[in-house]
Amino acid sequence: MLHLINESPFESNSLDDCLKYAAKGSPILFFEDAIYGAMAGTSLEEKIKMVLADHDVYVLKEDLAMRGVDQLVTGMKEVDYPGFVGLVEEHKTASW
């Protein structure tokens, strides 16, 4: 199952909620304001590294560019909209 996270993890608990249910190995996509969770050098970086140990975590390129975020936590995978569609082809999708 692909989990879609679109809120800033600084302001919303939707990532934590998702992690309670997501099986090890299930991919997660950060887009919209959730992309701040993918940024290197924030207070959430250690937490995100722990998420990366159990999940492939993708981040949407177009939303990164829009927000001027270019330094990512090591291990995050960038996808564009066609890549987003590709993930949805492969997985059922939960929007948190």
Binding site: D17, Y21, A23, A94
Partner: protein, 128 residues
């Protein structure tokens, strides 16, 4: 699309997941409307309450002071609509101070690690 469906498809497993508190936003209310409409389609419907969605079925709501429509009694109509697969996530319920007797319906309690599996089993599901 309805006719095409009847020709081509088996009964589909569909689920509505409630994860928002009632009244602060309309997600729970419009989720419930969706459940009742879905019930008319003779499919295999499940309903799941997780996170703040567990508050949508708390007993004792009284909206008279604000004039906002109290929709919690409508959850009880699910049974009359033959919706029998109703589940609640144990950790969400317990963290939010609720017991089964606090609820207007009688969901089956499931563990959090069963939630994703239940989602995977559906043809499609919606989160409200």
């Amino acid at each position: 699309m309805n006719e095409e469906m009847e020709e081509n498809e088996e009964v589909a497993k569909l689920m509505i997941v409630f994860r928002s508190a009632p009244y602060g936003s309309i997600y729970a209310f419009e989720g419930l409307e969706n459940v009742l409409i879905m019930a008319a389609y003779d499919q295999d419907i499940s309903v799941l309450f997780i996170d703040d969605g567990v508050y949508a079925i708390k007993k004792g709501m009284d909206t008279t002071a604000t004039g906002i429509k109290n929709f919690s009694p409508t959850f009880k109509a699910m049974e009359a609509y033959d919706i029998e697969k109703v589940f609640i996530d144990r950790t969400s319920m317990e963290a939010r101070g609720l017991k089964l007797e606090d609820l207007v319906v009688e969901p089956e309690v499931i563990e959090s690690d069963a939630v994703e599996k239940m989602m995977e089993e559906q043809k499609n599901f919606f989160m409200f």
